[in-house]
């Protein structure tokens, strides 16, 4: 049965994060926010961060979408909270490579932890954008954080 391959994409961790998203909601005092829409499917994700002294103290997301986009956003929050901005940027890049089917550094894969499981999306080309949305939003937030950090 062709559906058996679905288990590769919809692993327990992914379904769990989609059903019980972590850090879903708004931050009381965000230092940065970004709302991104996937124009081809209508998924919307808003990512909020609280960054102080180059450290990501908190991340939250809001929005609606498919199992993959919700799970990917939830997993992202668990990976990036507590990281410094430089490491976060590196991990965002590593995640982007991973879901495109490229190999990544072992240390980065370990830091991505459960989020690395989303890498199987590389075998489902139509779903890569779903997985990427929250991470793209996060990347843009951190870019804006960077530009205003010295004021």
């Amino acid at each position: 049965m062709g559906l058996a391959k679905l288990n590769e994409l919809y692993k327990t961790v992914i379904i769990d994060h989609a059903q019980f998203p972590r850090h879903k909601g708004e931050l009381a005092d965000p230092t940065g926010e970004k709302r991104l829409k996937n124009p081809t499917c209508g998924d919307v994700i808003k990512v909020s961060v609280a960054v102080k002294d180059d450290k990501i103290n908190d991340v939250a997301f809001e929005g609606s979408g498919c199992t993959i986009s919700q799970a990917s956003a939830s997993l992202m929050t668990t990976v990036l909270i507590g990281k410094d901005v430089k490491t976060a940027r590196r991990l965002i890049l590593a995640f982007s490579k991973l879901i495109s089917g490229d190999d990544i550094d072992e240390d980065d894969e370990e830091l991505l932890g459960d989020a690395a499981i989303v890498g199987t999306v590389a075998e489902f080309p139509t779903r890569i954008k779903c997985a990427a949305l929250a991470w793209h939003a996060m990347d843009e937030v951190l870019n804006e954080e960077g530009s205003g950090a010295d004021d």
Partner: protein, 164 residues
């Protein structure tokens, strides 16, 4: 298209010819002609009647699936072969990926019709499009596929326990 080109000067033909540089889409025009000949040979009435037969067969069965929302008229006589639907609790992209694994191609998304999605109060839908080259057997596969997808996500999600 130009008339004359010099090192420091050029002049063009009058509109609309000035915008028609390069090779026109000749193969496209020939292919369109062939497509029209093909449809005329089949007969548009025959195509419409066959499409209606598929809708008469598929739509009532589709409506019987528990938890389905079918958009547009539920009377097959008023529906074309384009069937848009959602399964309760499932995102259309997840449904489409499931069907894809079964070799069934549907479109999922907002179909370049975001205002319509707003009007229907949904973010996106699945859309199966039947035409004269589709069969009732394929309709059966779609119906079976939808039930399998429902089962997959019901069981998968039902088993999930919070791990944090």
């Amino acid at each position: 298209m130009i008339n004359e080109v010099h090192e420091q000067a050029a002049d063009w033909k009058a509109s609309p010819w000035k915008y028609e540089a390069g090779t026109p889409n000749i193969s496209g025009a020939i292919a369109l002609g062939s497509a029209i000949d093909y449809l005329n040979k089949l007969g548009m009435d025959n195509i419409q009647a066959y499409e209606q037969e598929i809708v008469d067969y598929t739509l009532p069965k589709l409506l019987q699936i528990d938890g389905i929302t079918v958009y547009g008229p539920h009377d097959p006589a008023k529906h074309t072969g384009v069937l848009s639907f959602n399964l309760k609790g499932l995102h259309p992209h997840d449904v489409a990926t499931g069907l894809d694994m079964d070799g069934i191609a549907v479109r999922a998304g907002h179909h370049c019709a975001q205002p319509l999605m707003e009007y229907l109060s949904c973010e996106a839908t699945c859309r199966a499009s039947f035409y004269f080259y589709n069969t009732k057997e394929e309709a059966d596969r779609l119906l079976a596929g939808l039930n399998e997808v429902k089962e997959f996500f019901a069981n998968g999600i039902g088993k999930a326990e919070r791990t944090l």
